[in-house]
Symmetry: C2
Subunit: 147 residues, 2 copies
């Protein structure tokens, strides 16, 4: 006979994820705001650094926002001289986006601060616990999007 986990605790998992993400977003905003960056802008720059030349739509998918939001995000970053987009559209009307020199410095500074926040968050985890957390959360993510 299978021993069923009482669902009372697992039920709190959704709330806990929301809570943690809310706090994480808040802390990231606090350290990024002095640099003049919103969390969404940081996510955009961070992703662009690891994947230069991607299209706006692909960027939107990776950052989990709509194409439209990414469009205005990129326009703002372009106006601030942090991002350059090819003026001559590519194969499918695509406009590849890349970081500028100034953005590289800024993104590195922002990355440092975000690393600090994440270190704080994982500060009480010891041994293989960080890795365990990554695996378990990854399982949840896959189960949700695999649908």
């Amino acid at each position: 006979m299978m021993i069923e986990k009482e669902p009372a605790e697992v039920e709190q998992l959704g709330l806990l994820i929301k809570e943690t993400q809310s706090l994480l977003n808040q802390r990231m905003d606090e350290v990024l705001r002095p640099l003049g960056l919103s969390v969404a802008q940081y996510a955009c720059l961070h992703t662009l650094r690891s994947a230069p030349g991607v299209t706006g739509s692909e960027l939107a998918r990776r950052v989990f926002v709509s194409r439209q939001s990414m469009s205005v995000l990129l326009q703002g970053l372009e106006k601030r001289g942090l991002v350059e987009r090819s003026q001559e559209p590519g194969p499918r009307r695509e406009r590849a986006a890349e970081l500028t020199e100034e953005a590289a410095e800024l993104t590195e500074a922002a990355d440092g601060r975000v690393r600090g926040v994440v270190s704080t968050m994982a500060g009480d985890l010891v041994g293989d616990e960080p890795e365990r957390l990554l695996v378990l959360l990854g399982s949840c993510r896959d189960a949700l999007q695999g649908d």
Copy 2:
């Protein structure tokens, strides 16, 4: 000499949390929308059911939104007959909020659907893994808000 964890993996923890929460919110919206409820409204009703009679401000803190957002949320729920608020303000101008009968049924139905989503999310976790995940994530949350 301490063996330092390479931070390359832990660094992804922030992104993973954001990703998982985004997908969870999306799935919850999909199951709650047919009931005419937004995720925020569900969170409001769910919290009210476990803590009837709380004030709007306290409710806002528990649901992680501002007092102002909770104010308009409650106005909408009140207009739909799901929530009743005491008209005669209490000790500190407080207006205690409670669920109506109709809301109790609706909230129960919504809870069932949300339980389904959470079960899907935790579907691949076995043994003590759900509990482990709760403990590890709880540690992260405490580290973020303990600051």
